[in-house]
Structure formats: structure tokens, C-alpha cells
């Protein structure tokens, strides 16, 4: 009796917390398919807001996906070799490597607006670049790079890489064969975890992008702010709904990858 009371109490509390987190989101998503939010659900449900968003903001969605993928490509190509060098510099016991790792976190700690301002001051005079998607990409890479480097570095530090590489070398493998045949496959779980993080963060990035964007380089979250500011609440909510449909599969994938990585027995 006592035990079941405690069980139901805990269950109730957990559900309450979940409700606290989820209800506003559900309300917002529902608002996106409500005919008139001010009247309420009694006004009926409709898909027209979604269609409207799709018509007027579709391009920002594709743009966000494109930037996220480009960002992923850049952070992978730069981040994995960087993590490798940090892990191997001075036998993996380097103060310089740790300092660089900390410095990489700076754009995460500094408010996005400040980073964006710094970027504008540094590159603003190059009009072409300033107005192009590349400029947004630079901001995103700056922000997401540590989220690629850190998990890869963590896996590298636990995976006995130096001795695995020595073993491969003793079998005749040159530096490139070792990097692609031994290093990459053995840190792949780290790369995957980093990749999902980078894509998720890039798609949702607002602060930096908001400062950097021009009407022609608007991304999804900036478009969201734009629609909330300038259109009916239902339109903004429908936009949120679309955003969620994009981001939730990513979040689930991220959980799944972290789980499978953790349960994998390491050498």
C-alpha cells in the first residue's frame, strides 16, 4: 500500500514536470492548425497556415538545411583532423592542446550577438561575402566546431589510438592508411555524435544568424522570428510545427546514437 502510494506520487510528479515542459509546445503546435486562435479550437482546424508558411517561407527551410549540411561538411573536414592533432600533440599530454580546446569553446560562451558583431566588423567591408550564405556559414561553423571536436577528441583519448596506430604501422600501414583505416573507423561513434549535434545546432541557430542575415540569407529560425513579428500568430505557430517536424527526428537519432555508443564495449 505504502509502496504503491510512493509509486503513484512519483509518477504524478514526473508527469507534472513533463507536462510543464511539453504543454506550451503542444499548444503552440496546435495553434498552427487552429483556424482562429483567438476564438479557440471551436473555430475548427485547418492546414492553410501550414500551406501559407510553406509558400512564403519554404526557401528559408531549404536554406537552413543547406547551411546545416555545409556546416557539417566543414566541421567534419576541419574538426576531425583538428581533434586528431590535439589528441596526438606531445603524446596526448599537451597544455597547448588543452588551451586550444578551451579557446574553441569561446564562441559558445560569448553571446552570439557579440560573435556576430565581431564577424561583421572583421569582414563587413567585403560586400559580396557579407551578403552571401557563406557569411552565415562562417558564423555557424564558429559556433558548432567545438561540438564536433569535443566528442571526437573524447573518443580518441579513450580508444588507445596511439598503440593501435603503432600496431597498424608494424603491419606496414603508412600514415594515410592508418588515419583512414584505423583512426576514422575507431572514432566513428564520436564523429556521428558530433555530426548530429552540429546539424541540430546549426538548424536552430538564431543569435548569430539574426545579426548576420540579409533578407536574401534568412534561415528558418530567423524566418520564424520574422513571421511572429509581422504576421498572424497562427502562421508563426504553423512555422514552429514545421520546425519541430524537422528537428525531432534529429533529436531521436542523437539519443539513439549516444545510447549505442555507450553500450558498445571498448577494447
Amino acid at each position: 500500500m505504502q509502496k504503491s502510494f510512493r509509486f503513484y506520487f512519483q509518477l504524478g510528479f514526473t508527469l507534472l514536470v513533463c507536462a510543464f515542459l511539453i504543454i506550451p509546445i503542444i499548444l503552440s503546435m496546435l495553434a498552427g492548425i487552429t483556424d482562429n486562435f483567438f476564438i479557440g479550437w471551436s473555430s475548427g482546424f485547418t492546414a492553410r497556415w501550414i500551406v501559407q508558411v510553406w509558400d512564403s517561407y519554404q526557401v528559408t527551410i531549404w536554406r537552413s538545411i543547406a547551411i546545416a549540411l555545409a556546416c557539417l561538411a566543414v566541421t567534419t573536414l576541419a574538426g576531425v583532423p583538428l581533434a586528431y592533432m590535439l589528441a596526438r600533440h606531445n603524446g596526448g599530454n599537451s597544455r597547448l592542446a588543452r588551451a586550444i580546446e578551451e579557446l574553441l569553446m569561446m564562441p559558445v560562451a560569448v553571446p552570439g550577438l557579440a560573435t556576430a558583431l565581431a564577424l561583421i566588423m572583421a569582414y563587413g567591408q567585403y560586400r559580396e561575402f557579407r551578403g552571401s550564405l557563406l557569411f552565415i556559414l562562417v558564423g555557424h561553423v564558429l559556433f558548432t566546431l567545438p561540438f564536433m571536436v569535443r566528442p571526437v577528441l573524447a573518443v580518441m583519448q579513450t580508444a588507445q589510438l596511439p598503440v593501435l596506430e603503432e600496431a597498424a604501422a608494424s603491419l606496414g600501414a603508412g600514415p594515410l592508411q592508418r588515419f583512414f583505416g584505423i583512426v576514422i573507423p575507431n572514432v566513428f561513434s564520436g564523429i556521428l555524435a558530433g555530426a548530429l549535434m552540429v546539424v541540430t545546432l546549426s538548424i536552430g541557430e538564431f543569435n548569430i544568424t539574426w545579426m548576420l542575415h540579409t533578407p536574401l540569407t534568412m534561415t528558418l529560425p530567423v524566418g520564424l522570428a520574422d513571421s511572429y513579428a509581422s504576421m498572424r500568430l497562427e502562421v508563426g505557430s504553423a512555422y514552429t510545427l514545421i520546425f519541430f517536424l524537422m528537428i525531432i527526428p534529429l533529436l531521436i537519432a542523437m539519443q539513439w546514437v549516444t545510447h549505442t555508443t555507450r553500450s558498445r564495449v571498448r577494447l
Binding site: 598503440v163 593501435l164 604501422a169 608494424s170 603491419l171 575507431n186 577494447l267
Partner: protein, 353 residues
């Protein structure tokens, strides 16, 4: 097996980037097909020596590594044709057992059909038939090390290098694997260098044992030489159990509290130290003459095939004595001991008395 390779180290020293000198200039010659064990306490430079031969480290300027008379000093490990087995196995976790063994063959672009044949042959050689598809994390420690051995031998290396390959295994397994390894090395006739800090491993496996101490070679010799004719205090102490008795020398005798032992008189009137092995001490029955020393038993350890006694003979250290089965001893009993003269080792004391 094809012709085995000889190895020669000439004036090989190693100083690390932080200034620590791991190895004083050493000279070492290894004959084709022999198994040489580098033995010593941690930090003695044995692993550094192995890594110099492997090509994982390079000697300080002036040092040379020769394989069959050919200078390989500047060749990195991937070009030296050495097989290596590591203490913690270093198997590739992203590959199966078979893929691990085939890695070196793949690098050498051996056709797939031939590779499969070779994997099967190697698995049989290390007694792991049929485990080619296993994942690495499904193997026990002993199996892992067998796979590592097969992987190293797959590429038919000129030299096999083993860096404490049995240290991570438990005692029982260590013994079986040691016996298998011994057989395999004899059968293959490959030049092998084996690093260990375990003297019984060194004795069992080595054609020659190189005892190292603080970056220098203390002695090179057969296991027998090293055991019965140690070249220094250090070697005598490091290999097996060794008794040490110190006293004042004179008239061809070394005198101490509980008796005397024969000792040459060149050091008459000075302090000297004699050493001898526990199994060389004979217990003299009551009333019989010819005892060299008398003492009181401090403790007894029954070891099954023998009883080990710790006897206070009035020297600085108690003497360890192995007595045969038959007798049973009590702590506190008095005992008379004799050491045959041929079993005594005399080293000049490091410090004058």
C-alpha cells in the same frame, strides 16, 4: 621458415625530448633465429631498446641499427618488416578476428582468396580454429593475445618483437601461453626479441637473456649463466632469490655472528659480502660436523614441494633456506647450515667498510 635475420645495435643511446636519458649507448648483437629476452625492472630501458629495434623510436645521433648487416636506422616501422605484439593486445576493435589477422596482408594487396587461406592457417597455428568471424570484444585475454600473435606473424616479418605480451593475463593462462609461445618460436625459427620484467618468463623463453639496469646492459648470457654466474650484485639480486651475508674477511674466511664462510683473502680485514642461492644451502643434522653456520628459524613457509625457511644467522639479513620435503621445522628451533664452496659468489662491496 625462410632465413632468419641477425640484428645488431651499435652505440644506440636514447634521450627523450624532455631531456631524460632512457638509454646509455648500448651494443647488442642478436644471432639469426634466436630468442633474446630483455629483462629488467621498469624504467631500465628494455622497452626503449625494443622500440629502437622496431623503428618506433630512433637512436640519438651516432647510433645504428643493423638487420643482417644492413643499416635500417632511418627506416620507420612500417618499412622494417617487423611483427609486433603488445602488452594490451592492440587489436583493432572495428574489425573481426579474421580482419585483424588479414590487415597486414590487405596492406600488401594480397588477393582475397589467398588471404582467406592464410587466415585459416594462422588461426590453426594459434589454436583458434573457426573464430575468424568473432568480434574482438567477444574474446578472452588469452585469445586476444593469440590473435595478436597471428596478426604479427601473418606478414612473415623478419623479426618478431614482443612487448610484455603475457603481463595482462592471469597466472595460470600466462603459463600455458608461455609454453605455447616457446614451442611456436622454436618451430618458426624466427629471430625474436621479448621484453619482460618477469624473470621466470625470461628464463623459460630466452636463448639469451639481456639483463638491463638504468639504461645500461648489466649482463648478457644464457639463462644458466645469468642464474649461476651473475656478473654483478644487481643481476644476482634481480634473478631468483639470493642470500647476502656480510661480515669481516680474513684468513680465507668471512666471519659473522652465526659462523663463517670461505672467502678469498684479497680483502682481508675489510667488510665483504657473499651471496648464495636458497636451494644450495644444505641442512646439517644435529651432532654432525661440517656446519658453516648456526641460526634460529624465524619463520617457515610450506610450498608443497619444499619448505622455505627464514633463518637468523647473526648477519644483517636473515638467510633463506629451501629444505626438502621429509623434514618439518618449528619456528624458534636452532638449525645448522652448510654452503658448498662452489655455490658461493663473492662480489667486491660497493662501499668499503
Amino acid at each position: 621458415m625462410k632465413n632468419a635475420v641477425s640484428i645488431k645495435l651499435i652505440q644506440c643511446a636514447k634521450t627523450f625530448a624532455n631531456g631524460a636519458q632512457a638509454l646509455q649507448p648500448i651494443e647488442l648483437e642478436i644471432r639469426p633465429g634466436e630468442t633474446v629476452v630483455l629483462l629488467g625492472p621498469s624504467g631500465c630501458g628494455k622497452t626503449t631498446t625494443l622500440r629502437l629495434i622496431a623503428g618506433l623510436e630512433f637512436p640519438d645521433a651516432g647510433g645504428q641499427v643493423l638487420f643482417d648487416g644492413e643499416d635500417v636506422t632511418d627506416l620507420p616501422i612500417e618499412k622494417r618488416g617487423v611483427g609486433m605484439v603488445f602488452q594490451n593486445y592492440a587489436l583493432f576493435p572495428n574489425m573481426t578476428v579474421g580482419e585483424n589477422i588479414a590487415y597486414g596482408l590487405k596492406i600488401r594487396k594480397m588477393p582475397a582468396a589467398q588471404r582467406l587461406e592464410k587466415i585459416a592457417a594462422l588461426l590453426e597455428m594459434v589454436q583458434l580454429q573457426g573464430l575468424g568471424q568473432r568480434r574482438i570484444d567477444q574474446l578472452s585475454g588469452g585469445q586476444k593475445q593469440r590473435v595478436a600473435l597471428a596478426r604479427a606473424l601473418a606478414v612473415e616479418p623478419k623479426v618478431l618483437l614482443l612487448d610484455e605480451p603475457l603481463t595482462a593475463l592471469d597466472a595460470k593462462l600466462r603459463e600455458t601461453l608461455r609454453a605455447d609461445l616457446n614451442q611456436l618460436l622454436r618451430k618458426l625459427g624466427i629471430t625474436a626479441i621479448y621484453v619482460t620484467h618477469d624473470q621466470s618468463e625470461a628464463m623459460a623463453l630466452g636463448d639469451h637473456v639481456v639483463v638491463m639496469e638504468r639504461g645500461k646492459i648489466a649482463q648478457i648470457g644464457s639463462p644458466r649463466d645469468i642464474y649461476y654466474r651473475p656478473a654483478s650484485h644487481f643481476v644476482a639480486d634481480f634473478i631468483g632469490t639470493m642470500n647476502r651475508v656480510s661480515g669481516v674477511a680474513g684468513d680465507g674466511q668471512l666471519r659473522f655472528g652465526g659462523g663463517q664462510l670461505p672467502c678469498d683473502t684479497s680483502s682481508a680485514g675489510l667488510r665483504a659480502t657473499l651471496m648464495f642461492r636458497p636451494e644450495d644451502v644444505e641442512v646439517v643434522a644435529d651432532g654432525m660436523g661440517g656446519a658453516d653456520m648456526q641460526g634460529e628459524i624465524l619463520s617457515t613457509f610450506f610450498l608443497g614441494d619444499r619448505t622455505r625457511l627464514l633463518v637468523d644467522v647473526g648477519a644483517e639479513q636473515a638467510v633463506v633456506v629451501d629444505s626438502g620435503r621429509g623434514a618439518s621445522w618449528q619456528v624458534g628451533e636452532r638449525i645448522a647450515l652448510r654452503v658448498p664452496e662452489h655455490a658461493l659468489l663473492h662480489f667486491p662491496d660497493e662501499v668499503a667498510a
